[in-house]
């Protein structure tokens, strides 16, 4: 090595460490990239028309008088000075709080039994746990009326008290909210690191101490989450207080009364805004809990496998049997009640109550409307939700504008979770019924019911799709484009086939919810498009409890059939399309 060479390199000139020197690059997007970008703009337009604009309209109406003039906070002032309205706030809050306090420990014990004990029949308990999800919230309320109502067979148990009111609401809500809490807590408890338990045992901690120091901290965000979800479900549910609430007013029934009873849309909008508050708070808290939960379980954790222990398993088995019996019992009572000729005097069985045309002008048509609406919602919804989630995850984000667009669509896709059905329904009337809105032609048609249900239940489907897509290798599209294969081909040949189970889940979720929802559609149906769940409310209002129960049972039968089909078909679909998962 010559020293000349070494000497040369020492005073090496360096480029200045400032701005790069080359000419700016003009980026030419390919057709598929431009299409994805256009798709996101379409998604933004869709969510703007079906979510942002109606909600904006609702917000505006809360600050207007009946003639459309701006009145500032006058409506809110009227609201807080009307004692009956303010009382509803308190009523909503305390019934929700009591329900939460009852449901969360019960669901925790049930989920604990499923995840951390050696009780038999776990599969059956898990299936029974989900039954209330498949029924409209009205069903438990109707069953409770059969049992404890004015003609109830168990009325003597109330010692002269009345089921119509807060305690009826709480009892029905416990049933209705149980699955949501149990699902969240099952997930929270199923992800435990066995090594933590081994470490605790090695350090000679007692069982109770292990429970307090390992089990509970691991589930604390699940508990927060479950509590928040139950509270929000109760505050925003309309069916149960409508059917069993009697004179006991809550926020949800107030909205309905202001809008349908008094035709006071502005006050309805104000109550809607109030109803939005707990839901938004819950949404924020939920986000916080999810952020905290990340990283509690690392990829190297060893799964916890419970060992049999009689002292724990036996009480938990008794608890599970009791809870499962109650869940099935409530459904059973409703089903039985729907088959009774004249409750409680003539208990002979009959199918008369299923001749709906005797009770409601729409007859079986309501059920068919619901089926049609749910099929459309599920099919169109699953497609839109999945494609939009895909675009959000995979559309190019080279420019600032593209990132802003993605942020806006992403926000609108998660916002519906914080919007109660009644509020969204009200926003829809105000927006689509506005004389100046050309989109108003869908008002009163099936289309608006489908659109509303789709937006109402958008977020859960979106999160399911996003989770599934995020599990795919982020370079699939890059590999495709390096091989000159456009993104839509890779989407069709790789993304969709791999995500098919998730897409089916979204479809079933949308179908079941569109079948059972009352709160959003009750403002929106037209003379020919009354859904079955609304027919239940109407028949109950008209005093035809048996027919109402019969319709609720019909809805449950349809959702249960779809769910069973899903489970059965899921296996077949897996065998056909997921063969590659097997090693």
């Amino acid at each position: 090595m010559s020293d000349a060479v070494l000497g040369e390199r020492l005073p090496q000139p360096r480029p200045p460490r400032g701005a790069p020197a080359g000419p700016p690059v003009r980026i030419a997007a390919s057709l598929d990239q431009r299409l994805m970008q256009a798709g996101l703009w379409l998604a933004l337009a869709f969510l703007a028309i079906s979510l942002a604009l109606p909600m904006g309209m609702l917000l505006a109406r809360a600050f207007q008088d009946a003639q459309g003039g701006f009145v500032g906070l006058a409506n809110f002032a009227t609201y807080v000075t009307t004692p009956s309205l303010v009382r509803s706030v308190w009523n909503s809050v305390w019934t929700a709080a009591v329900t939460t306090i009852l449901v969360v420990p019960l669901a925790f014990a049930y989920a604990y039994a499923l995840a951390r004990s050696c009780i038999p029949f776990k599969g059956i308990f898990r299936a029974v746990m989900l039954v209330p999800i498949l029924a409209p919230s009205l069903l438990p309320a109707l069953a409770l009326i059969y049992l404890f109502g004015n003609q109830g067979m168990l009325r003597w148990m109330l010692f002269g008290e009345n089921i119509y009111g807060p305690w009826g609401i709480v009892a029905a809500q416990v049933f209705y909210c149980f699955p949501a809490a149990a699902i969240i807590l099952s997930v929270a408890l199923s992800t435990a690191d066995a090594r933590l338990y081994e470490a605790a045992e090695a350090l000679k901690a007692g069982r109770f101490r292990i429970f307090l120091t390992v089990t509970l901290p691991g589930a604390v965000y699940g508990l927060v989450s479950a509590g928040v979800v139950v509270f929000t479900l109760v505050v925003t549910d309309f069916g149960i207080p409508k059917v069993i609430g009697g004179q006991f007013q809550v926020l949800a029934t107030d909205v309905y009364k202001q809008v349908v009873g008094l035709q006071d849309f502005n006050m309805g909008a104000v109550v809607g805004m109030v109803l939005l508050l707990p839901a938004i708070a819950a949404f924020a808290l939920q986000r916080w809990a999810e952020g905290r939960r990340a990283g509690t379980l690392t990829g190297r954790a060893t799964p916890y496998i419970p060992r049999p222990r009689r002292a724990r398993d036996l009480p938990l088995l008794v608890l599970c049997i009791t809870v499962a019996a109650l869940l099935l019992g409530i459904v059973g009572v409703a089903a039985w009640g729907s088959l009774i000729r004249f409750w409680p005097w003539n208990l002979s069985l009959t199918l008369d109550n299923y001749e709906f045309s005797r009770f409601d002008a729409s007859g079986w048509g309501a059920f068919l409307t619901s089926i049609e609406m749910s099929l459309l919602t599920a099919t169109i919804g699953a497609a839109i939700v999945f494609v939009v989630a895909y675009l959000l995850e995979r559309a190019p984000q080279a420019t600032r504008g593209a990132r802003l667009l993605r942020g806006a669509v992403g926000f609108l896709a998660t916002a519906p979770l914080a919007i109660p059905g009644l509020v969204l329904g009200l926003a829809f009337i105000l927006f689509f019924n506005h004389p100046a809105n050309p989109a108003g032609i869908i008002y009163g048609t099936l289309a608006i019911l489908v659109l509303n249900s789709l937006v109402h239940f958008y977020t859960v489907g979106h999160l399911t799709a996003a989770t599934a897509i995020r599990q795919l290798d982020p370079e699939f599209e890059a590999v495709g484009s390096s091989l000159k294969v456009p993104a839509w081909t890779t989407f069709g040949r790789v993304t969709v086939p791999i995500c098919l189970p998730a897409i089916l889940d979204i479809w079933v979720y949308l179908f079941v919810n569109a079948m059972t929802t009352v709160s959003a559609v009750i403002f929106l149906y037209g003379p020919d498009t009354k859904p079955a769940s609304v027919a239940v409310v109407h028949m109950d209002e008209a005093g035809q409890a048996s027919a109402a129960a019969a319709m609720a049972c019909t809805i449950l039968a349809a959702t249960a059939a779809v769910k069973i089909l899903h489970v059965a078909m899921g296996g077949a679909v897996d065998r056909l399309t997921q063969a590659w998962r097997r090693r």
Binding site: D3, P15, P20, G22, V25, S482, L483, V485, R582
Partner: protein, 373 residues
């Protein structure tokens, strides 16, 4: 396929003679306020195997993705085979890519994966099938055509990804940390296999790796990067023997670094209170603070060192047995060195921990850099 001798002849010298296949001029890339690439320029000849190497965050993957068009650069020009491609979308460029994760489509068989890019009028079904067979034969997986990726080992998946990238006969092969996900033995074997395949096909190849040993083992030339800048471009030997900066000297290969100051006598430096002759310090002003490096194989020990000027008495602190060689760690006040000696030499020197030995570095082998660089 090009003839092999032509490819083999092509080295750093040949690169200048032909028009470059890939030309990167003043390339810059900014993410917001973060500058990932600053004024990067380099040329790659046809059929060359070039590695981008550097610590994580140095911009090597950013540069590769800019060449691929997956994340286009913000400033500068890239030309491939005479055509400007700087802002073109990936599909309008001519390259095949293998990712660290392989990104094999899990729901498709090995055969379908390799055939993924073989579509359109230029690939009728029969020709595509023949090509798939040919490539799988080439990577030694002809009997695995009907399996799904999950049923293959990591090394096999890597080969499938390579076959898929090469199937449409791209002019440029990009490898993004292709071996990082594999264990050490498979890695060593596969890197030779990739190099062999590349030689046979003559395809111009760029590999990104953080492993400088891997880069040295397979590349015609190495591009050493740090903090978004190209530190040096050269053959493995050039980069190893004549590093262009203190960073390269420290990053490529083993070396011991120490601080020194240029002395008045030309070609000497003062380190740890001792005058050490270093040819590379010639031409530097007296008093300039410098950073010096010595390779362990250049450090002499015992009687051989005692005769050399600038020998230092050092204490053996640790001996690491490496097989053919032993690496001896040495310490004196303010000076730490490593020396490679054969086990026999080690025995003769009695270089056990605690022993005191004279150590010296040949004046023409010490690498000297200004400390302010």
């Amino acid at each position: 396929m090009r003839d092999e001798t032509a490819v083999a002849e092509r080295g750093a010298g040949a690169a200048a003679a032909r028009p470059p296949y890939l030309e990167v001029v003043s390339l810059g890339k900014q993410f917001g306020t973060f500058v990932a690439l600053r004024d990067v320029s380099l040329t790659i000849a046809e059929g060359e195997f070039v590695s981008f190497v550097g610590p994580s965050g140095c911009g090597k993957t950013t540069l590769l993705r800019a060449i691929a068009g997956l994340d286009p650069a913000t400033t500068g020009v890239i030309r491939q085979a005479g055509r400007e491609i700087t802002g073109l979308p990936p599909a309008e460029r001519d390259f095949g890519i293998v990712f660290q994760s392989y990104a094999l489509f899990p729901n498709m068989t090995v055969g379908a994966n390799v055939a993924y890019g073989l579509r359109g009028p230029s690939w009728p079904k029969q020709r595509a099938q023949a090509r798939v067979g040919e490539l799988l034969h080439l990577v030694g997986l002809a009997d695995q055509v009907a399996k799904y990726p999950a049923q293959l080992s990591g090394g096999q998946q890597q080969r499938v990804a390579l076959a898929r990238a090469l199937a449409p006969e791209p002019g440029l092969l990009l490898l993004d940390e292709p071996l990082s996900a594999l264990d050490a033995i498979v890695r060593l074997h596969l890197r030779q296999e990739i190099r062999g395949l590349q030689r046979r096909l003559g395809v111009t190849t760029i590999m990104v790796t953080h492993d400088q040993e891997e880069a040295m083992g397979v590349s015609d030339r190495i591009v050493v990067m740090s903090r978004g800048l190209v530190e040096q471009v050269g053959t493995p030997e050039e980069v190893y023997r004549r590093p262009a900066s203190a960073f390269v000297a420290g990053f490529v290969g083993r070396s011991s670094g120490f601080d020194a100051v240029v002395e008045a006598t030309p070609g000497t430096v003062m380190a740890a209170g001792r005058l050490i002759p270093a040819e590379a310090a010639r031409g530097l002003l007296f008093g300039t603070p410098v950073r010096c490096f010595a390779r362990p194989e250049d450090v002499r020990l015992g009687p051989a060192a005692a005769a050399m000027p600038g020998a230092v008495e050092m204490e053996v602190t640790h001996v690491e047995f490496l097989g053919a060689l032993c690496r001896v760690a040495l310490e004196a006040p303010k000076l730490k060195l490593e020396a490679d000696v054969t086990p026999e030499a080690l025995r003769m020197l009695g270089a056990l921990p605690g022993a005191l030995l004279p150590a010296a570095m040949p004046a023409d082998r010490i690498m000297v850099f200004r400390a302010d660089e």
